[in-house]
Amino acid sequence: MNKKEYLEELRKELKINNVNEIEDVISEYEEHFKFKIEEGLTEEEIAKKLSNPKEIAKEYAISNAPINKYEKGAKTTGVVFMSIPLTMIYILICASVIVIGAFSIASLTAGFCLITTLNIAGLIPAMPYFPALILGIACLGLSVIACIGTIYMFLYVKQWGKVYERWCKNIINNHRYPSLSMHPQISKKVSSKLKLIAIISLVCFVAAFIIAYFALCISAGSMEPWHTYNWFN
């Protein structure tokens, strides 16, 4: 078989096997012939060394797995309808990330106000400076924990979005792509640092909160300092 005969035969077999983009395949083999001829082989030798067109066409047919258009349309519709309630739930989850983020900012502000004795709109209850300072530190600790929580939740929610998108794509395209992990990829170094910071802030928060409470009790001379300082009136 010379080049022309080989390519004709291949084209015929590809058609029989319903392979897409036949010209693309043919050009790959034309290229192959061209390079081999440059190396000094004859067309017949090259064709002989290639596997036979029938087998090649079968290989392409496997990789091709044509997707039925109607099936694809039906699957797409299914995925779209399924996505509507799931998107609502996803928005709720996203909102909870924002809530935790807002909590972190609120704690930060409260801590800042307590430490600097900056009383915006009379929102900070009256108390002596020492317990206020310690309570401020507790608030800052809480803010850091909430901030790390927000980062983690944000990364997870983002990853889940991607997982879902890939999953839908795979349903439509006959599992063409590998599925994704449910866990976001955070480098070990970063995640261990974040964990350490979170633990330190947690300890800070708990310790400072307890100390602040006792300091308040001592300065108020009562186990219920909020009554002494009239916080709720």
């Binding site: 395949v25 290639l50 596997s51 290989e59 063409r176």
Partner: protein
Amino acid sequence: MNVQYKKGVIELCILSILCKKDMYGYELSEYISKKIDISDGTVYPILRKLKADGLVKTYLSEDSGGPPRKYYSVTDTGRKQFNADSKDWLEFASTISQILKGDDKNE
């Protein structure tokens, strides 16, 4: 060696090569057939499959001065897949070689 054994790993070999360097089809085909005894042209259908799976992509380039050639390069998905599969494969291969050599420590 059995042809089926080889076909399974050629995908992985192609990904490995493309992770290091972009190549055009013929270059890849020659590179592999020099190392693994397969008939010419076996690589092209596999490249098509990898492309359909979204593991490699193609682009045209005429950097060698000649007519534009279709180059293959690995996608992010392909790189991830390669990292996972090559680890699995190496573990599998080392287990098999232990068993075949008869120095399986579990016995």
